[in-house]
């Protein structure tokens, strides 16, 4: 029983990270029909930007700020203007392929300019355990969970409570009508790209101390986030959150109750079942089919 509790906490912490990454993925899909296959690499890169800043002598807090800013410029602004905008009118598939190429590019660039080895990364949360209901729970897990929840709550509040958020939602749901009623749709789309860049930088900051900074670490994470987003419903922010938590918990439970060898098969099976029986995702709404 105690084992189950630990697994749940660890699973929720992993799941919170997946949720952060998956939310950005759904935001981009909603506003610009972009499937970003480089989303995992987007999480990997900010950690290296921060490491690079520290290498030239910046203190940790400054490196974090620089890393987040740089990631918003590179992964938000530049990504949108240089890759997504010129390709948007060509449809989903060529853009998806271009993001695959981008993923290769980012991975290789980090490997070439930084290091092929895994580098340690300082944690913003102190290491150690605290006792919860008589269980030792690592502070890192709790820290990750808290920061991720704060970010997600902040984002939901922004989307649902502010006029900016309402404009963003309008732009995502029906750009034509939004434009007619005076929503600056282009600016709202840019904003979602910046938010995505911010979220991946945050995810990077939270996850890298646990798994080390490695050029190839984006692959697994990106895939998990995709699955989370689809399982939860990838036209819904809350779907992505639920999907992230669910996949995180399932992944951890599968590792100890099914088999370590086939642990990654469990989320995959869930994915296949959900897509076949409820393609819009557990919390998603059905999209109209276009002829």
């Amino acid at each position: 029983m105690s084992n189950l509790f630990d697994l749940l906490v660890a699973g929720l912490a992993t799941g919170a990270i997946y949720a952060l990454v998956a939310v950005g993925f759904t935001l981009l899909w909603q506003t610009s029909q972009t499937i970003n296959f480089a989303q995992g690499e987007f999480v990997m890169l900010p950690a290296f930007l921060m490491l690079a800043a520290m290498h030239v002598g910046a203190p940790f807090w400054l490196a974090i700020i620089l890393g987040i800013l740089l990631s918003m410029i590179l992964l938000g602004l530049a990504f949108k203007m240089l890759l997504v905008d010129p390709m948007m009118r060509h449809g989903v598939l060529p853009l998806a392929i271009a993001t695959m190429a981008l993923a290769i590019g980012i991975k290789e660039a980090v490997k070439q300019f930084f290091s092929a080895e895994a580098s340690p990364f300082p944690s913003i949360v102190p290491t150690g355990d605290i006792s919860v209901f008589g269980h030792a729970v690592s502070l890192q897990s709790i820290g990750v969970l808290v920061v991720a929840i704060l970010a997600v709550v902040g984002l939901t509040a922004l989307l649902n409570r502010t006029s900016l958020g309402h404009q963003m939602q309008a732009a995502a749901q029906n750009p034509t009508v939004a434009r007619i009623i005076g929503v600056p749709v282009e600016r709202m789309i840019l904003l979602t790209f910046l938010i995505n860049a911010f979220l991946v930088a945050l995810a990077s900051l939270l996850i890298t101390p646990i798994y080390l900074a490695k050029f190839s670490s984006g692959e697994v994470l990106g895939q998990a986030a995709f699955i989370a987003a689809i399982v939860g419903g990838f036209n819904q922010v809350r779907g992505a959150i639920a999907g992230g938590l669910l996949i995180g918990v399932l992944d951890n439970l599968a590792a100890s109750y099914v088999s370590t060898q086939y642990r990654s098969a469990v989320p995959m099976l869930v994915l296949i079942i959900v897509i076949l029986f409820r393609p819009q995702g557990l919390l998603g709404r059905a999209e109209e089919r276009t002829v």
Partner: protein
């Protein structure tokens, strides 16, 4: 133009084929390996081009079928079966699995389908890695023999290159025939407008499944050649990135163009080799090249050519019209 273009095309085609036969004769071992790899990957990409380019079904599982074919060939030939028998088994096996994988395509489309096939690809990788009683697990299968064809041993790189090239030729002819048959036309109808195709009496269910099954079977053939080519296989080459690479080959070459996979595979297999002089930068340059190409022409390299030809044809047609018009005016 038409009276002249066809013999020119045939001459060009024959020249390329002759070059592919003659030029590699004095290639070194590595050059022959790369060229054989190009032939094998072209076969796999042609399969995906059928599924994606002609029938319009996005699949991220082609690499898994190459894996299925490769393991079938590796397991059978190391147990003393001849390669042709292994190829038949690879075809049947990947055809059957591809048929089953086609069922989700009947329910979900586009990106959802991409993710179902992505999941399948990962599951296949896990099976290759974990079922060590059959696949050798992470240690893989080594000493995969190369076949004797008409009593000639193909152990050396050059004869085996000809095996790959010959297989490519056979597959190319089969695919050429297929896309010109009513089947191929049904696939295209399926891609262009499924609803209309159905209203015209195309059995969309059956053709969707067929597109997947035939495309996957070609992946299986490619795998069955890949195993004796490398003579050693483990799960790593058949992970998701092979499926992504194959998808990239098809799109970069030009999805839905017959010659697309040939060009796409050439770029994906040979370009990194040519860029090797740049040391560690070659994959980066490759990625940038792919992105620039797609921004410039989302329909791939052959898309550029196609647009150029179309523009010339329009120009020629309007020139003819102008001539006809002026004649009409002078006649009046």
């Amino acid at each position: 133009m038409t009276g002249f273009a066809k013999p020119l095309k045939i001459a060009l085609g024959l020249a390329v084929i002759a070059a592919l036969i003659v030029v590699p004769m004095n290639f070194n071992r590595y050059g022959l390996f790369i060229l054989s790899q190009w032939a094998v990957m072209t076969i796999a990409a042609m399969g995906l081009n059928l599924t994606l380019g002609y029938a319009g079904q996005v699949s991220l599982a082609q690499g898994a079928f190459v894996g299925i074919g490769a393991y079938a060939a590796a397991i059978m030939t190391t147990h003393g079966w001849p390669l042709p028998a292994a190829i038949v088994v690879a075809i049947v096996l990947s055809f059957a699995v591809g048929w089953v994988l086609g069922y989700p395509a009947l329910r979900v489309q586009h990106h959802y389908l991409a993710f179902v096939t992505l999941a399948f690809s990962t599951l296949a990788f896990l099976v290759f890695r974990n079922e060590s009683w059959l696949t050798g697990g992470i240690y893989g299968i080594s000493n995969i023999p190369r076949p004797h064809i008409f009593g000639i041993a193909t152990n050396k790189p050059l004869p085996f290159y000809y095996v790959c090239l010959g297989s490519l030729a056979i597959v190319s002819l089969a695919v050429w025939w297929l896309i010109r048959s009513p089947w191929g036309r049904a696939f295209i109808a399926l891609r262009e407008n499924p609803q209309r195709a159905q209203s015209l009496g195309v059995d969309t269910r059956r053709y969707t499944l067929m597109a997947f099954a035939i495309g996957s079977a070609l992946g299986g053939i490619a795998g069955a050649l890949y195993a004796p080519l490398t003579q050693y296989i483990d799960p790593v080459p058949f992970n998701l990135s092979l499926s992504l690479d194959l998808l990239m080959m098809v799109i970069v070459g030009g999805a839905g163009f017959y010659l697309g996979p040939f060009l796409g595979a050439m770029i994906a297999v040979l370009l990194p080799e040519w860029l090797r002089f740049t040391e560690g930068y070659y994959l980066m340059l490759y990625a940038i090249a792919v992105m620039l190409l797609l921004i410039w022409s989302p329909t791939g390299i052959l898309g550029i050519l196609d647009r150029y030809m179309a523009a010339r044809r329009t120009k020629a047609a309007s020139a003819l019209r102008a001539v006809a018009k002026s004649r009409l005016e002078t006649a009046q």
